[in-house]
Symmetry: C2
Subunit: 455 residues, 2 copies
């Protein structure tokens, strides 16, 4: 049987297995879900074992465990390490939107799977599981494969670095293959060739040793919320450039020619309409696709302080807090930018408050080697299944694990994403198209089929 026929014949089961996995609420950031994390890892192991993979195991880390499996068909052939994650984002939202159906009761509606983790990243991980199954049951593998599926991607992979160092031999490979990104549209295939890095910090501004009456003390005691706002505001200038000294020093400035090469179809009116925004925003002089890929950002992800309940309370609060993240581009590094931010933020604090900055997590930006045989095989695979060459795209998101894996394992990564930016990855009603799931499996199968042509 050819692989295409095999996929067609097992469509229903491929879907139902994924839905079962999506039922497990593997929210890595919430300690109440620790047992669910283990269940999610074990479910994946069971599936990998049933394919006949070797050394299938749930390996402990200092945090949530890692799932490993491999199939070595010939040690002299290249080895592909499939990286992904089985943990998911929390399900709450701050925008008042709620889930149409519960996040951990997956359903298929209008040709899409609705569930937390559907696209990010369980659905995209499962594409690889089913592609390998397909090959093993039809034409066979063309190289060795390993699976490294972690449980802490959504919290910044705090323990994976140590794990990879300790298991360097086990994880030895020639390329890392990842499906955790998007294509531009279902009829515009694209491959992510660069990723932004991330520096995520939490800041605290404190004034008096307790909450005060805003009438009795207001006007003479610094209000930590007002001060925090002032400090955050001063991090951008009128052209929306970030004001932290040295912030742009290592940013690669693309030439006009390079910028042209990366142009992708984009309709600003459609974009505004889809997001319901009165206007776009951003650093002067760049297009929206550029702002979200080749330019760094500074966004407040959360802010809180004082009285936030029902009604009104005239309090002059003691503290105010914010979670701030910066998206980084080549050749900024997380360590460098975190240090620059911290230094500047402490420096701009007025003398009437105390300021604390805590680094939460981060990762360096990344650029793919588009000349490797693995990238070329992947590019060809998209062309075969989508019927057109994929565009090169810079992604705004971060996969800090990639530069980290590159450092420890010494190999490049190829990003074969099949989601859409409109999948609501970190929002309520996260979904993943059935079209995307199945074409993903076909494309990954095609990748292995094409690979020997580029050896």
């Amino acid at each position: 049987m050819n692989p295409k026929q095999y996929i067609e014949n097992h469509k229903e089961r491929f879907l139902s297995e994924l839905l079962e996995w999506l039922k497990i609420p593997s929210v890595s950031t919430e300690s109440s879900h620790t047992a669910d994390m283990k269940r999610a890892a074990e479910y994946l192991c069971k599936q990998l074992t049933s394919l006949g993979l070797e050394r299938v195991s749930v390996l402990p880390t200092k945090g949530h465990p890692v799932v490993f499996a491999q199939k070595i068909i010939n040690p002299s052939l290249p080895t592909v390490l499939i990286y992904g994650h089985y943990d998911v984002q929390p399900t709450d939202s701050s925008d008042g939107r709620t889930w149409t159906s519960p996040p951990f009761e997956p359903v298929v509606r209008d040709g899409k799977i609705y569930a937390r983790g559907a696209t990010d990243d369980k659905g995209q991980v499962y594409i690889h599981v089913k592609a390998i199954e397909t090959l093993l049951n039809t034409t066979g593998l063309t190289c060795n494969v390993k699976f490294l599926i972690e449980g802490e991607e959504e919290i910044g992979s705090p323990h994976l670095g140590e794990f990879v160092e300790q298991h360097r031999n086990l994880l030895q490979c020639d390329v890392i293959l990842i499906s955790d990104t998007s294509i531009l549209d279902n009829d515009i295939p694209s491959m992510t060739v660069s990723l932004r890095g991330l520096s995520y910090v939490e800041v605290e501004v404190s004034s008096a040793n307790k909450d005060l009456h805003s009438g009795v003390y207001g006007g003479a005691v610094a209000n930590p919320i007002n001060v925090l706002c002032q400090m955050i505001a001063s991090l951008h200038d009128a052209n929306r450039r970030i004001t932290i000294p040295g912030f742009y020093d290592n940013v690669i400035q693309l030439s006009e020619e390079e910028r042209k090469l990366r142009q992708v179809p984009f309709d600003v009116e459609e974009y505004k309409k889809m997001l319901g925004i009165p206007d776009v925003w951003g650093e002067k002089g760049y297009t929206v696709p550029e702002l979200t890929s080749i330019r760094p950002t500074l966004d407040v992800n959360g802010i809180w302080g004082g009285f936030t309940g029902e009604g009104s309370k005239t309090v002059l609060p003691s503290k105010a807090f914010a979670k701030i993240s910066m998206r980084l581009v080549p050749n900024q590094t997380c360590d460098e930018i975190t240090a620059l931010f911290t230094k500047y933020f402490l420096q701009i604090a007025p003398p009437s408050v105390r300021v604390k900055v805590t680094s939460r997590h981060g990762g360096d930006p990344y650029m793919t080697n588009t000349n490797s045989m693995f990238f070329k095989a992947a590019e060809k695979a998209y062309e075969r299944t989508f019927g057109k060459k994929p565009l090169y795209e810079g992604s705004g998101g971060s996969i800090p694990i990639i530069p980290m894996l590159k450092k420890h394992l010494g190999v490049d990564a190829v990003l074969m994403g099949f989601g859409l930016d409109s999948d609501d990855a970190h929002s309520p009603d996260e979904h993943f198209g059935l079209f995307n799931y199945y074409i993903g499996i076909q494309t990954v199968v095609a990748f292995y089929e094409e690979l020997p042509n580029f050896f």
Copy 2:
């Protein structure tokens, strides 16, 4: 028996009755406490009835009810209307401090009553109840008295205006007497001669129609938190003056001479130490006592938006919110300032966001007539019980009810406060000194004794 002896003889009971009242969690801003509000009003009625007062009743409003009582000894004598409130602030705090003992299980520790409402305002209201009891059981009243004790002061008295209008005859009086302020210290008696007004608003800044992934969209979509911070920051200039056009137009600028007259003893180092602040803050050119009395302010009382939970979430939120209040001074008015704020805040909003401003509540600032017979009798009363003349003090707080009552009833107010600024009125561990409670009763008794001397 003379009044002093009577107070001494009934000290224990005067205290235990107040403690009973403090046990009732009459938090007006939380709808879960509606039944407690009624219980607190009824408890007070029971006490007033037992004194032999007339027309004691719990009168409905569109919100929490009002307690009324009166004793008319001679219609040709002046009538004092005692105003106060039986509602209290919520008990939560944003500064991490907690209550040493539960807020609604009052205890006496180190000579102080610890409970929510101890000083603001149940304890100070009960001073009047016990002063009237003392007089009725000893030398008798020297004028007519009425009680008007409301249940919505902490939420801005939204229904009292309508109530007063409807009960104008019932409430007819010659002066309003209020104990809801502080003295400078237990050996520095003072009388509050001015109060700041208040304009309390809630603002909402919104961008996209849902929470977005900060990697995918960050840099091209306005972040409502960053924008809100920018807008809040721009409300003060470098000299910490408020930038809203016209904001200071009606502020009475005191002459150097007037400023000297209002000087009160103040130790800035002591103040910094007490509050645990590295430095004071505020509009350039004014002392701390001035900043908190004769100058207006703009403070953010609460801010929230995005992800504020444990861990980190890279969300570009859809909305951000803040509660902002402005303290006003003569001759600013709440309506004028609320309108100026709203206009300016909408005007400074960048085109990439939507902004909403909602007025929550407020009140006008107030200045006492220090030449009235009521003020003079009160001044003399302090001098008798404290052994020295009270200083005149401008208070930073607001009692919006005063200008409102003045408008409807056409009479002035005299503020006889007995608390201390350090009583933690709106914070955990609110307390009220036993010294202050008892000297308050004595001073109010002395007020009625002195009053005929100024007829």
